[in-house]
């Protein structure tokens, strides 16, 4: 293919920032286990601890509150299982876990597992038709029996439709009862302002490859006062909460990416949101019955991730659209990727009240730090013909 790829799937993974690549490659060539006591080990440990301090400073937490993990799924599992177990151990009445219906599978599936194997009573709190948590429903669920709630988990921003969640309201509901709050913020860090201390949450998940860092490394920010039972056992490298030899190059690159993406967040968000708004407006001009899913475009108040455009195209299959755009060098997503590659209607769209049918005719374009106006132009140029063709395919089968 001669034309450059138009990559509009930054919510799946975004290219590494040059500063992160530099940090990673610099340390790949060095030897030293951060747990070793000799000079090489001390050097590696210093890199890890400086990285921890960098991340702590960028996200306003204490360095000791940064627990490195292998990524978002690892951090979510650690937070949910680890906090559930420690809370229940302290008081056996605490068997309830409250979460939103639109969490990522890295949250929903551990909760299913806890329900099935650990007797957890998981309650999923509904969202409105823009995918924003129903705080009143959460409050009612808590107040029904606050002493039985082990923890609450609500994502900072939804990965599919981009809606920001009322995390501070969640904290306000939980705090009077001393209930810990976890938030999966993998989509949020670097995209919207994230201040761990000010947010009042007790645990926060982030991952490298969503913010310009490497794959396979992430962190759980977890308040020092919060007890977390480990889910895997070994050397106890990270506060005895998580074991495993620390990935010095990955951690250095993660820190470089967090530092830079957080620093540039205001400029980045404004630029990407302008491109996104342009994309949404012009796609709807081309395909008049296309419609935006999730929160309205921002007008003053921040309501959705700046790079997210999640659009419904009635009367066609998202699969067909994706394949036709891919053939034209435009890469996007129909929703959460699935291991078997079998598309299922998105649980997020279903939770927002979409029909099964509507959930299948959607495409997610997500812009990021490498996106340009030319990317938007390419989508606008192709979308009408692609939708028309996909509609034909739908009508014929």
């Amino acid at each position: 293919m001669s034309a450059p790829t138009v990559y509009l799937d930054h919510a799946a993974t975004t290219p590494m920032l040059p500063a992160a690549i530099e940090a990673m490659t610099a340390h790949l060539a060095e030897v030293g286990n951060p747990s070793s006591l000799h000079a090489s080990g001390r050097h590696a440990r210093r890199v890890v601890e400086e990285s921890r301090e960098t991340i702590a400073q960028a996200l306003n937490c204490r360095p000791a509150e940064v627990v490195f993990t292998s990524g978002g799924t690892d951090a979510d599992n650690l937070a949910l299982k680890g906090i559930f177990w420690s809370r229940r151990a302290a008081d056996p009445r605490r068997t309830r876990i409250l979460a939103s219906t639109i969490e990522h599978h890295a949250v929903l599936d551990p909760l299913d597992w806890l329900a099935e194997h650990e007797g957890a009573d998981v309650e999923l709190i509904p969202v409105d038709d823009r995918a924003r948590l129903d705080v009143d429903a959460l409050r009612a669920a808590v107040e029904r029996d606050p002493d039985s709630v082990a923890l609450i988990s609500v994502m900072w921003a939804n990965n599919e439709v981009g809606t920001l969640q009322p995390v501070e309201d969640v904290v306000a509901v939980a705090a009077p009862h001393g209930i810990p709050v976890h938030t999966d913020a993998v989509q949020a860090v670097g995209a919207v302002p994230v201040d761990f201390a000010a947010s009042g949450v007790d645990a926060l998940t982030l991952t490298g490859h969503k913010l310009g860092g490497p794959y396979g490394v992430g962190a759980l920010l977890v308040r020092r006062e919060v007890e977390v039972t480990p889910i895997s056992h070994g050397g106890g490298q990270e506060r005895d909460i998580r074991s495993g030899t620390l990935d010095t190059p990955g951690i250095a690159a993660l820190a470089a990416a967090v530092e830079l993406s957080v620093k540039e967040q205001p400029v980045h968000a404004a630029r990407v949101a302008a491109l996104r708004d342009d994309l949404v407006r012009r796609v709807i001009e081309q395909v008049p019955d296309a419609h935006l899913h999730g929160a309205l475009l921002d007008s003053g108040e921040l309501r959705r991730l700046p790079g997210n455009a999640h659009l419904g195209f009635p009367d066609c299959e998202g699969d067909s659209l994706l394949m036709l755009l891919d053939a034209r060098g435009i890469e996007c997503s129909t929703g959460s990727a699935c291991s078997a590659g079998v598309p299922q209607p998105s649980h997020v769209l279903l939770a927002m009240g979409c029909t099964d049918e509507a959930a299948r005719h959607s495409l997610r374009f997500t812009l990021g730090h490498t996106s340009t106006a030319a990317d938007v132009d390419a989508v606008v140029r192709e979308i009408a013909a692609v939708v028309e063709r996909a509609r034909g395919a739908r009508a014929s089968s």
Partner: protein, 374 residues
């Protein structure tokens, strides 16, 4: 041409896709997801519906260097193939779900979607040959490798479907295809062939039907009756466990008086009666068949051969329109919904529901579903 290659994860469809790409076509690979819950279908390397098969297909597409997607056809497959399979057994017939899948899924739902998306043809790893006929139509012939020939399960395809199909393996013996796969670096080169029915996980059709049919089963058992004496020889726990011509698994304690083996002669789904008798009572010399489908021009009558099972032999046959009151005058195959097949050498163990595929030499003329035997 823009070609959509249906890739099951097996060696044949992988080589077919590679050949199509090498021939200069713009090929896109797709794997058909036929089950909503892949774990419930056959596990291991023998079926065509598992996550493992999907991954094998994806890796083959990587090696060939073509784009690859998974298409979810699970709902259509369930409605058109699995439900039909159950309905047919519930009615005491013996369906062939592979033909049904080709007719309704691979060369219908998939082909039509492909054409609408801008593709010109669908390529599969079936062993059959296509060539241009004298009348300008596309003819389908048996594969060079008669042992692997799959024209029988393609006998339901009409001219429109054939005109948009590619069977790149039809002129090659299976063993050469395996060798070629290895040469091309396709890791599925030594993957075992698939057999049986892809959605019956362990090959136990009767067990699968017992579980799935549940309340829909026409009966939960009945008598096994001797054809000549009317004597009840035993009991069975559901007619769907039987097919006409079946010899094994009858579990009749006593041998027949003449010491010869007994076969299923008839299945009565309402009463649950299974009639058994000697092999000669299975001989069939005349068939009626419904829902005829023609690959090209419809002959007025046909003197050719007919194949009655996927791996069955050929029988010389004369095929004519079945005379009905409405069609008495000038009835021809073209206008008839029922065809009559006279077998010049008798066939044994022929069950209603099976497909009769009609040949003129190596050329497939058409097919129909057997409705009655005599």
């Amino acid at each position: 041409m823009k070609v959509l290659a249906a890739m099951s994860g097996g060696v044949d469809s992988a080589v077919a896709a590679a050949r199509a790409a090498e021939a200069g076509h713009d090929v896109t690979g797709i794997h058909l997801a036929l089950s909503r819950n892949p774990k419930s279908y056959r596990s291991g390397a023998r079926g065509c519906c598992t996550i493992e098969d999907s991954n094998d297909a994806r890796r083959a597409a990587d090696v060939i260097g073509i784009p690859f997607y998974v298409w979810d056809l699970s709902e259509r497959f369930h409605e058109d193939v699995v439900e039909d399979f159950m309905d047919e057994y519930a009615a005491g017939r013996t369906p062939n779900p592979c033909l049904r899948c080709n007719e309704k899924i691979k060369f219908a739902a998939v082909l039509e979607r492909a054409l609408a998306l801008g593709f010109d043809a669908v390529a599969t790893g079936h062993y059959a040959r296509l060539r241009a006929g004298a009348d300008g139509l596309v003819e389908m012939h048996r594969a060079v490798d008669h042992g692997k020939d799959q024209s029988y399960v393609l006998g339901v395809l009409d001219q429109h479907q054939l005109a948009h199909s590619l069977f790149p393996l039809g002129d090659t013996p299976k063993e050469s295809v395996r060798a070629e796969a290895a040469e091309r670096g396709l890791l599925v080169a030594d993957k075992p062939d698939s057999h049986d029915i892809c959605f019956v996980a362990d090959g136990d059709n009767a067990g699968w039907l017992r579980e799935k049919l549940g309340d829909r089963a026409p009966n939960d058992g009945g008598d096994i009756v001797d054809d000549s004496t009317g004597e009840v020889l035993g009991r069975h726990d559901g007619t769907y466990g039987f097919t006409i011509g079946q010899r094994k698994g009858l579990r009749i304690g006593r041998p027949a008086p003449d010491g010869k083996p007994r076969f299923v002669l008839d299945i009565e789904p309402v009463t649950g009666t299974v009639t058994v008798g000697p092999r000669e009572r299975l001989a069939v010399e005349r068939l009626s068949a419904i829902r005829p489908r023609w690959c090209g021009t419809v002959p007025r009558r046909l003197e050719g051969t007919v194949q009655l099972r996927a791996h069955g032999g050929e029988h010389r046959a004369v095929v004519t329109a079945e005379e009905t009151a409405a069609l008495r005058d000038g009835s021809s195959l073209a206008s008839s919904g029922t065809i009559s097949i006279e077998l010049l050498d008798p066939a044994y163990g022929i069950a209603p529901g099976q497909a009769a595929v009609l040949y003129d030499g190596t050329r497939v003329v058409g097919s129909a579903t057997i409705s009655a035997t005599a």
